[in-house]
């Protein structure tokens, strides 16, 4: 059965990465709260690092490069989540809401 050896195929991982990226973009546009948008951003980042890991496994001559890159992406994502969440807490303290439609001061 050909379908059982999909795990040894570069294209499988690339398609999963594309799906994660697209679902993340969809959530980014469609979500109404800042925390929902942050969750979608995490999905986009994990789609990107899945692509890196797939290329690293199948195409790279040095198989540690992609792993190091993915570890760095994880560190950046953790820093991003910490900063974004503290901004969300500060916004909530000022506006009493985390809805993106409520946080507008300059709208006429």
């Amino acid at each position: 059965m050909y379908i059982l050896v999909l795990s040894n195929n570069l294209q499988t991982y690339l398609v999963i990465g594309a799906l994660l990226f697209g679902i993340g973009i969809y959530g980014m546009v469609q979500r109404q709260t800042f925390i929902g948008m942050l969750i979608s951003a995490e999905l986009i980042l994990s789609g990107a690092s899945l692509n890196f890991m797939a290329f690293n496994r199948f195409l790279a001559p040095d198989p540690t490069v992609g792993q190091v890159f993915t570890l760095f992406i994880m560190a950046i994502a953790a820093a991003e989540a910490a900063i974004a969440l503290s901004i969300i807490i500060a916004v909530y303290r000022n506006y009493k809401s985390i809805d993106t439609e409520d946080v507008v001061d300059l709208q006429g």
Partner: protein, 174 residues
Amino acid sequence: MVSLFTVEGLSGLLFFGFMGLTLAGAIVATNARSLIRSVAGLALCFLGVAGLYYYLNSPFVALMQILIYVGAVCVTIIFAVMLAESSELKQITSRNGLVGPLAFLASGILIFALAGLALRTQWRPAPCLVNRGTVENLGQSLLTTYSMSFELISVVLLVAVVGSLVLARAGRDK
């Protein structure tokens, strides 16, 4: 030809499980009504991605994925959800009804284009491997070739921690 009841067949089946876990978690994370459920979907999705990393010959990165994403990032997001109680339960009134379908269309086009690109390109495998990509090789290259980036990323993390503390503290007496 791989039969289902061999080691390869069972591991292929497990791979399908991880694939489904990833995609189902992602869909739950973007479509759930309450934020807590969406964070739970995100954790599921990260577990599935960790399984996929395991299939890509990197158990260390899979472990780090579980440790950092499921253990730290998801828990931090849950803390923020509890601190800033969401108002998503109120009726959605002030938004254009076209946003959902348009977002679906845009992401569908994006997925189609990226997947088509991945399936049509002739990927050329590496001519030779420098090392086998074990944890030992990973540690060596992290502390020799990439030592500068390693130090810089620790500075970035330090600045992020201090900055988030300052940001969350400002205006606390209000």
